[in-house]
């Protein structure tokens, strides 16, 4: 393999200094990064291993009722944390619907947020890809693109963000805490991932050296715990990325939806928050007709980017399903087939 520097800084300040140089990248558990390096897609000159940084592996309750999750908390540890699963069931379900048990045991929160697209041309170093090589062109446009984006894409890039975790997170107003060269700042998760526009290579709002140190969930997010679901359609029952997915969370009082949260995965370069649908749902009684309207509103701007018109229809149906399931109530336990449309089946 190509030679690169490997550094293991002792603290966050050293990490930022080490990662600010050109060619340096952070290494968490490497389940995504090392694959990319082995395929020659990513050729960093320096890996800054953050896995030993102190204090980033905790789940803390905050005084204001919110939750702070360190960037190094493992996906599995978070999903299996009983209090977390109780308060944020859709997030736990989304986490457990992703990848495989082995990968979830390794993968970190920060790495999951920052994982790269699964576009086959991005992974194929011999293909033209604007994300890898600005200005090279996009081989997916006329290629195998049945699973590509239907919202927010540009001619420059039609890739999707693959994370399941991010979908309910963005619905629940998660905030990302970042440490960088100019200190600490925070950003709504919704602002972390960028739509491609003319600069698909700029995937996130992070600047060189920026380190995600934690993820925060506001106190209000717990208010949806009784009616929160994640639904994921995929091409096999486990160990597959979403074709399309949706997180729905409702606050239902007196038979009315007081507040709704809705987001889609697998449709765009970022987890797609459905603000218009949320507004539409607020104040209505849970009802299939309203869900359908919400679904239409969510996909109103959708356009196929290739052989993927079906995703627009599918996304609408998933929205309806996720809302229906959320309204029916969060199951007492996370289903054995998390996120699966068959998860409601007893014994599944």
């Amino acid at each position: 393999m190509m030679n690169f520097d490997y550094v293991r800084p002792a603290n966050v300040a050293d990490a930022i200094a080490a990662a600010s140089e050109k060619g340096a990248v952070y290494l968490a558990s490497g389940t995504n990064l090392l694959d990319l390096m082995k395929g020659g897609v990513s050729r960093p000159s320096r890996l800054v291993d953050v896995t030993r940084l102190p204090g980033l592996d905790r789940i803390e309750r905050l005084d204001d009722g919110g939750l702070r999750i360190g960037a190094l908390v493992r996906n599995a540890d978070l999903a299996h944390d009983a209090a977390f699963a109780r308060d944020y069931p859709a997030i736990a379900e989304a986490l457990l619907s992703g990848a495989s048990a082995q990968l979830r045991n390794a993968a970190t929160v920060g790495g999951n947020l920052m994982q790269r697209t699964r576009c086959g041309y991005f992974y194929d170093a011999a293909s033209a890809c604007n994300r890898r090589w600005p200005g090279a062109g996009c081989d997916a446009l006329e290629g195998e693109n049945r699973l590509h984006a239907v919202l927010g894409w540009s001619e420059g890039c039609i890739a999707t963000h693959p994370s399941d975790f991010c979908v309910p997170l963005v619905a629940l107003d998660a905030v990302v805490e970042i440490e960088g060269r100019s200190g600490r700042r925070e950003l709504p998760l919704e602002a972390l991932h960028r739509l491609p526009g003319d600069t698909p290579d700029r995937e996130t709002a992070l600047e060189p050296g920026d380190l995600i140190v934690a993820l925060r969930l506001p106190a209000e997010a717990q208010g949806f715990a009784a009616h929160a679901r994640y639904v994921k359609v995929r091409e096999r029952t486990s160990y597959a990325f979403a074709v399309v997915s949706a997180a729905a969370a409702l606050r239902i009082e007196d038979g009315k939806i007081r507040e709704a949260r809705l987001a889609l995965g697998g449709v765009a370069a970022k987890p797609w928050r459905a603000h218009a649908a949320e507004q539409l749902l607020a104040g209505t009684a849970p009802d299939a007709a309203v869900y359908r309207e919400a679904a239409r509103a969510t996909l109103a701007e959708a356009r196929p980017s290739g052989d993927n018109a079906f995703k627009i229809e599918l996304a609408q149906r998933i929205v309806v399903r996720a809302l229906t399931l959320a309204a029916a109530g969060t199951p007492a336990r996370i289903p054995a087939l998390p996120g699966s449309p068959f998860s409601s089946v007893a014994g599944a």
């Binding site: 393999m1 190509m2 030679n3 395929g39 020659g40 495989s100 699964r118 086959g120 041309y121 992974y123 194929d124 170093a125 011999a126 293909s127 081989d139 006329e142 290629g143 195998e144 049945r146 639904v231 359609v233 995929r234 091409e235 096999r236 029952t237 486990s238 160990y239 597959a240 074709v243 079906f310 229809e313 599918l314 149906r317 998933i318 309806v320 399903r321 087939l337 699966s340 449309p341 068959f342 409601s344 089946v345």
Partner: protein
């Protein structure tokens, strides 16, 4: 080192008198789960270097330049093998000596025939250095437009399909068949390219000693490999010693030695040191074979009684631009259903891929899913239950040849499978069943079939002075459990309990066991073992019966039976003598004898020989989202004598899961411009995960077949895929009313159809 497997296991397992038929667990199971089984790439001879193949990223054209200097400058790189710098070969790797000699890319030119083809090999002190050296070669190409897909070129009639089968077979009067029909169906099905993806990639550790060659490499056919390697290198096959005790799966891709394995051998010769070469997962998509893509048109005719009047099965298949392997997809229609008129025909299109090859149930798998779908469509067109329809068209003799079957318990398979499944309650029309959660439920079935083949194999039996036995045969255990089953046969052949014998296998230094393929390994090697055992027992009897001091004196050869280490007089079982006593009196340390297993041409000319089965599937489909979930699979199979029910069940489970995979998951996605495969990894090349596999039930129906071979074995390695793929596809139709004819069934077809 010759691996030895000694069976000392819980005697509670054992039924004395016969080891055949017992559900023993794998003899090598503990070695495997404890990591003690040494696979090819686990060997590290002193001084070993690592070779990494640089592969082409274009599918067609020429390599214009390679930056060999840059690769050589990389620390640790020892040498770079290129078309300009490689050991001489004695034979052109593009020469076609025999039908099993497929062309390989051994750096004979700068031509590129497919993506992922070897264009150079970097040899280094470490895997990392060799990997980086390969990247530093930065090839430049002269690119030609790649030919991709079933419409990439002019179709032509292949000379043969499979191994020597005619490309077109016509039985009866096709036009008359169509004229006699009152119902016609005409449908076209597509199956994608699939790749074997054995867990263990092709790997080789090659050590030269003068003109002797020692190889650790997985092989499903060591003697064929010796011949091929010897021919290419110009050394006698006997100089080549192959160790292949364990294979991490083969599925046909390790049946013939592949180009990459040869490159490992050449690299070792070039540098004069042992070399390890292991393919990366992505490199398995090209040079080691695959299942060709097909487009199959099936036109069926039936009369008012639901009796087929014609089966017209036409398959277009892809093959490589430079060699000839033709997936015999339409041949599936030769044997399954009776019809006065049957035509099967193939046409081929050359594309820029590696040469397709045998992949578990080659022809049968691709053909079966199309045929079973078409039968299902015709049954529905006739308004007849699919099982009833199959019974009305039951082939009493092999339809295309008129030969009687050596045995065929398919009716019992249908009956028992249907009963276990509860098939009788199936509504005829689709989209009639829902479960309590509102999911659509569908039931489908398919008939399974696979020919009962025999190759040629040898074994050597030894009885030692202490009365124990040894059986030797260079057989291949791909994980299917061959060693275990063959050990059981050996015990019975030698008249010894399992604990008294040693079975030696897995190396080319032992008698040639032929090829582990075509579901024929247990049958072939089993027959060889049976004959070797009989021969050594006969020698023992020859020592005892003429000897006045023996209680067996005067019994004559035919007058003794071997059991538990003793020969008994047939006419008086109380008179017996142990093997040890016989050898001691004769003053012999051991005696041995050889045996061969091979097809019986007379029986083959009289009888059609096939295993059969019936598979029933239940699927559930989300009525809005189109997500499919298989919920039940029941298969009933008749495959002659069952040597080890546990292993047989496991083979059938595996085959049925592959059928599920065929219907719902598996597909190589190729960019239609570049010819590169975009999902050449196990994350995106989907096979079912545990959560996709439903509860499964396997029934084996007793079948006594005196004609197939001495032991009446038919083989179970491949049949499980056939029938199952169609059963799942038919169940999806029955659940939804949507007939998807392109496999694997994709979610978009259901999403658009359901509304």
């Amino acid at each position: 080192m010759t691996p030895e497997i000694n069976l000392t296991r819980d005697p509670a397992h054992l039924r004395h008198g016969s080891s055949i038929g017992q559900p023993l667990t794998r003899t090598d199971g503990v070695l495997k789960v404890t990591g003690k089984a040494r696979y090819a790439a686990d060997n590290h001879p002193p001084g070993m270097l690592y070779a990494v193949i640089a592969t082409s990223c274009i599918a067609r054209g020429r390599v214009k330049s390679l930056d060999v200097a840059a690769a050589k400058r990389h620390p640790g790189v020892v040498d770079v093998m290129t078309p300009a710098h490689k050991p001489e070969l004695a034979e052109d790797p593009d020469a076609k000596g025999n039908p099993f000699a497929f062309r390989m890319e051994l750096l004979q030119s700068d031509e590129v025939r497919y993506a992922n083809q070897a264009i150079a090999v970097v040899i280094a002190e470490t895997l990392e250095a060799a990997t980086e050296g390969a990247a530093l070669l930065s090839p430049r190409y002269q690119v030609e437009i790649a030919r991709v897909g079933l419409d990439a070129g002019e179709p032509y009639a292949p000379p043969v399909v499979g191994i020597g089968n005619p490309a077109e077979v016509v039985h009866g009067e096709i036009d008359a068949g169509f004229a006699a029909a009152s119902k016609l169906t005409d449908a076209t099905y597509e199956t994608p390219a699939q790749y074997h993806n054995a867990m263990e990639p092709h790997a080789i550790v090659a050590v030269w000693d003068g003109d002797k060659l020692f190889l650790d490499t997985p092989s499903q056919g060591m003697a064929i490999a010796q011949g091929r390697i010897g021919g290419l290198l110009g050394i006698p096959p006997g100089n080549i010693h192959i160790n292949s005790p364990f294979l991490g799966g083969g599925f046909g891709s390790k049946g013939l030695v592949s180009g990459p394995q040869m490159l490992g051998i050449m690299a070792a010769r070039l540098v004069g040191r042992p070399v390890n070469l292991v393919l990366r997962r992505s490199q398995m998509y090209g040079p080691v074979g695959h299942r060709a893509s097909t487009r199959q048109r099936l036109r069926l005719g039936a009369d008012d009684a639901g009796v087929l009047t014609v089966i017209d099965h036409h398959a277009r298949i892809t093959t490589s631009s430079f060699d000839d392997f033709y997936e015999p997809a339409a041949d599936a229609s030769h044997t399954l259903y009776a019809s006065p008129a049957i035509r099967t025909a193939h046409e081929a299109v050359r594309v820029d891929t590696g040469t397709p090859l045998f992949m578990r149930a080659p022809g049968e798998a691709t053909g079966s899913i199309a045929l079973e779908s078409a039968i299902d469509e015709m049954a529905f067109a006739c308004g007849i239950d699919p099982l009833d329809f199959r019974l009305r068209n039951y082939a009493e003799v092999e339809p295309t040849t008129g030969k009687p079957f050596s045995s065929k318990a398919l009716r019992q398979c249908y009956a028992r499978g249907a009963e276990r499944f509860g098939w009788a309650r199936r509504p005829l029309a689709p989209r009639q069943m829902r479960d309590e959660n509102g999911f659509l439920v569908g039931w489908g079935m398919g008939t399974a079939t696979f020919p009962a083949l025999m190759f040629q194999g040898n074994a050597r039996a030894v009885i030692r002075a202490d009365g124990s036995g040894v059986m030797e045969s260079g057989a291949h255990d791909m994980g299917q459990g061959a060693w275990t089953a063959l050990t059981q046969i050996s015990a019975d052949a030698l008249g010894l309990d399992l604990g008294e014998i040693t079975f030696r296998s897995g190396t080319s230094d032992l008698p040639d066991a032929g090829i582990a393929g075509g579901s024929a390994h247990t049958a072939t090697v089993g027959a060889a073992i049976h004959n070797a055992g009989a021969a050594v027992i006969a020698r023992l009897a020859e020592l005892a019966t003429p000897d006045e001091r023996s209680p067996l004196f005067g019994a004559g050869n035919a007058g003794v039976v071997a059991r538990q280490g003793r020969l008994h007089r047939r006419d008086d079982e109380t008179r017996s003598e142990s093997y040890a006593e016989i050898l001691a009196r004769a003053g012999l340390a051991e005696i041995d004898a050889s045996g061969t297993g091979a097809a019986d041409p007379a029986a083959q000319s009289h009888y059609a020989m096939h295993a059969h089965g019936a598979v029933f599937a239940e699927v559930k489909v989300d009525p809005e989202l189109g997500q499919i979930r298989a919920t039940r699979l029941v298969g009933a199979f008749a495959a002659g004598r069952i040597i080890n029910p546990r292993l047989v069940q496991s083979q059938l489970f595996g085959g049925m899961i592959w059928g599920l995979s065929f219907a719902l998951h598996e597909e190589a996605v190729m960019d239609h411009r570049s010819g590169r495969i975009l999902n050449a990894n196990l994350a995106e090349y989907h096979v079912p995960v545990n959560a996709d596999v439903p509860p499964m039930d396997v029934i084996t129906v007793d079948e006594h077949d005196p004609h197939v071979n001495a032991l009446g074995i038919k083989g179970v390695g491949e049949i499980g895929i056939t029938g199952s793929a169609g059963a799942v596809a038919n169940a999806v139709w029955h659940a939804t009313g949507i007939r998807v004819r392109r496999f694997p069934i994709r979610i978009e077809e259901l999403v658009t159809g359901l509304s």
